[in-house]
């Protein structure tokens, strides 16, 4: 007789692994259980079994197997009489990284939801082993019902039967419930639950057809929802959010509807339909959604990821709903019921009584050249494990301030957290500090050996790190951008990088953001950059890009009367420029701001990066390939001629011409650095690559020139992956 002991590592819990194994091996004797590091399997068999092959072949759809360890022992007789699923082992000292992100509902559950003969017909919280909430409802890393907020709901007999019956789809589905025993929905008005269950949902659906605005509790938090084709309702949401000009995402009924509104490539359809179910920024087909898109040529679109979305479509017969995080602009997402029912301005609240433990926003994804670029890393992505080489100390990386994702290492694994918006908003900052503590306790990290933060003197995440941890290392922002690309691509060789970004604190005390680096062995050297230009008025300039344009034009002309003539409406502010002391910046993002203001696309932002985005949108409308003059000296790119010419023309075509010129100059510089160093591997990072024209334009040129190109695809291309890069820098001991 043989006893086979198996450990399966990877994303293996909360994906229905134990039921699958049970069904394969139920004719044997032994057991399967979740342990804190893996799924463990013990089988007694008369003959050898090709265990690895069987497991890999039958792995559940959402599982990701990283490795399988097994050993075979001879035994005299069987110790077990049957094959059983054991409950999870008590938590021990080992760390755990098996939790999965929250997953959007699966096709089977969708089918059951509208199958009148099914026990869960119209059950608004239907889930199975393939779908449903995970991270947002789990108390710690062991995904067992008792460790989740589903523990408040005792399974009914019918559910218990399914849960324990290996032939059932919900065998050991920790989030199993039905209309009898599960959480339920309530329609709340003026702080009173007035309707429940189907009536509640029907009422909300009818409200939505009548210009009403609601708060809807989904998976990781609340959405503000309304009919996105209803002008009155959309205006109401804008009013509630204090947000006039920023587009809203929409949830559409189904993929066919999505195709009606947006041009969708196969990869885009795939991600929409995947269990991640992010917001996809896709090219609009028409202006049906103009109420929520505003001036954007893109539409932020998602498919129903919670059953309640489908039910609202079903009862309202609407095709699409505006669905934006319930909060004031740039404040944290509301996820507590008590906050929701007290939220003012909405017509109703539709909530369920399954508690959310940690708020998680919708993720945002965009495709350029068929490649995935992540703009916001949250629901569906966090927390996915990423494997490191070698065993390392416990590192905590605190990321950046404007878009915050933190990361931790657990032995040979790295986990990137969900996103938190701008930390200068105190509620976001609080959420960030809760997130840090939650992450440490969730993954059972008792001691942080090393904390890493950005070296920006005014970053709140950095002062947090210095206050909270004894051993803190500071890294340079754009080197971390670079390193995040290296980490994601598991690359340790020599490399050239171009980081095109907003602003970050540079090693020389200036504000960097258009940087060229060379990594040789463990040394990252800044070899070039966009030529410094002055920036006056601090953060205000970033909010009001005309100030950047004016500073730039004053620098390159030294003629303040000319600058006043360019922006007569701001001549009072502009006349201050020659008298003030500037900071210096090499930021690419600020250059886009300057051009946007120069050609009068946007003088003042109402949200982050607005002027640069509008410039890109304008550029997309023109087909020119024209390039203006620029200079490169010592790998330093000077765009002053470019901007002088644009300031003379001030036409909208300049939007495109600037993109062409910018991309060409960056390309030329990368190419000559590559030749100079003999390194042909190029890393692209930084928030400016969210600009499709820049990303696609540069990528194509580099590939055509025969270079190898790496960028962030699995992690955000923007500041969301700073934490990942921070870990790489620390781990590789890179002298920065």
């Amino acid at each position: 007789m043989l006893a086979i002991k198996v450990k399966i590592y990877g994303i293996v819990q909360g994906v229905g692994f134990r039921p699958v194994l049970y069904n394969i091996f139920k004719s044997y004797t032994g057991w399967v259980r979740n342990s804190s590091c893996c799924v463990e399997l013990y089988i007694e068999s008369a003959k050898p079994i090709n265990i690895e092959r069987i497991i890999i072949k039958n792995k559940p759809k959402n599982a990701f197997i990283r490795s399988i360890d097994y050993s075979v022992h001879k035994i005299k007789k069987c110790a077990y009489r049957s094959f059983v699923i054991k409950y999870s082992q008590e938590k021990n000292n080992q760390k755990n990284i098996n939790i999965t992100p929250d997953w959007g509902m699966c096709k089977s559950c969708q089918k059951e939801l509208f199958d009148i003969t099914n026990r869960r017909y119209l059950h608004p919280l239907i889930t199975c082993t393939d779908c449903g909430p995970r991270f947002s409802i789990a108390k710690d890393g062991l995904f067992d019902r008792l460790n989740t907020t589903m523990s408040a709901f005792e399974m009914c007999n019918a559910c218990t039967k399914e849960y324990t019956d290996s032939s059932q789809r919900r065998f050991h589905a920790q989030t199993i419930s039905c209309k009898q025993c599960g959480p339920r929905y309530f329609y709340v008005k003026n702080n009173q639950a007035v309707l429940k269950d189907i009536q509640a949902i029907q009422k909300a659906a009818i409200d939505l057809t009548r210009s009403k605005v609601g708060l809807l509790k989904g998976i990781g938090g609340y959405h503000l929802i309304c009919n996105c084709l209803d002008k009155l309702a959309v205006e109401k949401i804008k009013y509630i959010k204090h947000r006039e000009e920023k587009p809203f995402a929409v949830i559409v009924r189904d993929i066919e509807t999505a195709k009606k509104y947006a041009y969708l490539q196969k990869s885009e359809i795939d991600i929409l339909e995947s269990q991640i179910k992010p917001i996809l920024l896709a090219k609009s087909k028409n202006d049906y959604l103009k109420l929520v898109n505003l001036e954007s040529p893109f539409v932020g679109i998602m498919l129903p990821y919670a059953p309640i979305h489908l039910l609202l479509f079903y009862f309202s017969r609407l095709d699409c709903l505006a669905a934006t995080s319930a909060n004031l602009s740039e404040s944290p997402l509301i996820y507590k019921d008590s906050d929701a029912v007290n939220f003012s301005g909405v017509d109703f609240v539709l909530l369920h009584n399954r508690k959310i433990l940690r708020p998680i926003e919708d993720s945002i994804v965009h495709f350029s050249l068929n490649k995935q670029l992540i703009y916001r890393y949250a629901r569906g992505f966090a927390p996915s494990p990423f494997y490191l080489k070698g065993v390392k100390p416990n590192i905590l990386a605190l990321g950046a301030d404007m878009k915050n994702n933190i990361a931790i290492t657990l032995k040979d694994t790295i986990v990137l957290s969900q996103y938190t918006p701008d930390l200068s908003n105190y509620e976001n900052y609080e959420q960030f500090s809760r997130k840090v503590n939650d992450f440490l306790s969730f993954f059972d990290i008792k001691k942080v050996d090393l904390a890493i933060c950005d070296k920006h003197p005014n970053y709140l995440s950095s002062s947090y790190a210095r206050e909270a941890f004894p051993c803190v290392v500071e890294t340079q922002h754009h080197k971390a951008h670079f390193a995040s690309v290296l980490m994601e691509n598991d690359y340790y060789g020599d490399c050239v990088a171009v980081v095109l970004d907003g602003t970050g604190f540079g090693d020389d005390g200036n504000i960097w953001g258009g940087e060229f680096f060379v990594k040789e062995k463990t040394l990252i050297k800044r070899i070039g950059h966009i030529k410094y230009f002055p920036i006056f008025f601090g953060d205000k300039a970033i909010k009001e890009p005309y100030r950047i344009a004016a500073s730039y034009m004053y620098e390159v002309t030294k003629d303040i009367e000319y600058v006043k003539f360019l922006f007569p409406e701001y001549k009072d502010v502009i006349s201050l420029i020659p008298k003030l002391k500037p900071a210096l910046t090499s930021s690419a993002g600020r250059l886009f701001d300057a051009v946007s203001a120069l050609i009068n696309i946007k003088h003042k932002n109402t949200f982050e990066a607005q002027s640069a985005m509008l410039l890109e949108y304008e550029a997309e409308k023109h087909k020119s390939t024209k390039i203006l003059d620029y200079k490169i000296n010592d790998f330093i790119i000077d765009f002053s001629e470019t901007l002088k010419t644009i300031a003379k023309r001030r036409d909208l075509l300049s939007a495109r011409v600037f993109h062409n010129t910018f991309t060409q100059a960056i390309f030329e510089n990368v190419l000559s650095i590559s030749k100079h160093t003999g390194i042909d591997t190029i890393a692209l990072g930084g928030g400016v690559f969210q600009n499709s024209l820049v990303f696609a334009g540069l990528y194509k040129k580099l590939i055509k020139a025969g270079l190898k190109v790496m960028f962030n695809s699995r992690f955000p291309i923007n500041d969301g992956s700073i934490a990942i890069g921070q870990i790489y820098l620390a781990k590789e001991g890179i002298c920065v």
């Binding site: 200068s424 105190y426 602003t503 970050g504 201050l576 003030l580 500041d719």
Partner: protein, 321 residues
């Protein structure tokens, strides 16, 4: 960020100044004056460009700043010393003007200037005044009695000195009537110290402005501060300059204001007293002490969100990425 040289930011009264005091001088960045039994003792050096500005000059400033520091600990200013370091070539007529302002400011505070010193340095090295002063403690105010729920009062419009000086120094021509608020506050504050109303803490929000002052209030303490944007008295003029320059009034220096922490029961009585004096006519309750977020100063914005009002660290450095 670590430094191996002194930067301007080390002298801006912000976080770096605090670190200098703690790490290099190995002193406690505690009260504005030392409390020595029933005597209070303080010293202050003054350098300012321009030396003469709308609302005062370095002479007036050097007396009022030191007087106000004594008041902060509950002392009645008594005696003052003065020391001058002046460059070769400095105009005697200017020196006379400066001394005259010192005398009249001392007189208004009922203080005697009792000793002094003079040094001359090479030309173009500037003009500096140091003053030290002794006061008689009426009752010690050392911050030890601060409690959750205590109210915070600002005695008048904030940000005026910083903006007025910036405007003149850089010749910004932003305004023709904004003046420094530079003033010694014995007339305003002494009646409160001498009253039977409870006062838990006082400080003049000079360098680093109101933001730094409030951060010092809760520095290394088990409580934090909550301030309300709508309640902070700020003149229209300061607001519009702030808007133009992109500098918040909370970080702009004051030289004639006091921030007072009082128990709720006495808050309105103290406000009444303040309002009686011309220097206190805009006094306002601006916030309170809270245990919710120790060591943090939160600014509640008028449209419902909150922002950390952190210690000023490095100026002119945008944080936004």
């Amino acid at each position: 960020m670590t430094f191996d040289k002194i930067t301007m930011d080390h002298g801006s009264g912000g976080k770096l100044t605090l670190e200098l005091i703690e790490n290099i001088f190995k002193a406690n960045a505690g009260l504005d004056s030392a409390i020595l039994g029933d005597i209070a003792f303080t010293t202050d050096s003054h350098s300012i460009t321009p030396l003469f500005f709308r609302g005062g000059d370095i002479g007036k400033l050097s007396v009022s700043g030191t007087m106000n520091d004594l008041l902060c600990v509950g002392a009645k200013p008594m005696y003052l010393s003065s020391a001058f370091i002046m460059e070769e070539g400095f105009l005697i007529s200017d020196l006379k003007k400066i001394v005259q302002s010192m005398l009249s400011e001392a007189k208004s505070a009922n203080v005697e200037i009792v000793c002094g010193d003079t040094k001359v340095i090479e030309s173009n090295k500037g003009f500096y005044v140091n003053t030290s002063a002794i006061g008689k403690i009426i009752r010690p105010i050392d911050g030890s009695k601060i409690k959750e729920g205590d109210k915070i009062i600002a005695t008048g419009n904030i940000g005026e000195h910083g903006f007025a000086i910036l405007n003149e120094r850089e010749n910004l021509q932003l305004t023709s009537h904004l003046a420094s608020d530079c003033a010694e506050l014995t007339g305003l504050i002494l009646p409160i110290i001498e009253s039977d109303l409870e006062i838990h803490w006082m400080r003049d929000p000079t360098r680093g402005g109101l933001a730094m002052c409030l951060n010092e209030l809760c520095y290394k303490r088990d409580f934090g501060v909550e301030v309300f944007e709508e309640l902070v008295p700020i003149s229209q003029e300061v607001l519009s300059i702030s808007e133009m320059l992109g500098i918040e009034p909370y970080y702009s220096a004051n030289e004639g204001k006091m921030v007072i922490v009082v128990p709720p029961k006495d808050a309105s009585k103290i406000l009444d007293l303040l309002h009686k004096h011309p220097l206190g006519k805009n006094a306002s309750l601006i916030g309170e002490i809270t245990k919710d977020h120790p060591q943090k100063v939160l600014l509640n914005l008028s449209y419902g969100t909150k922002r950390l009002l952190s210690m000023p660290i490095v100026e002119k450095m945008p944080r936004i990425c």
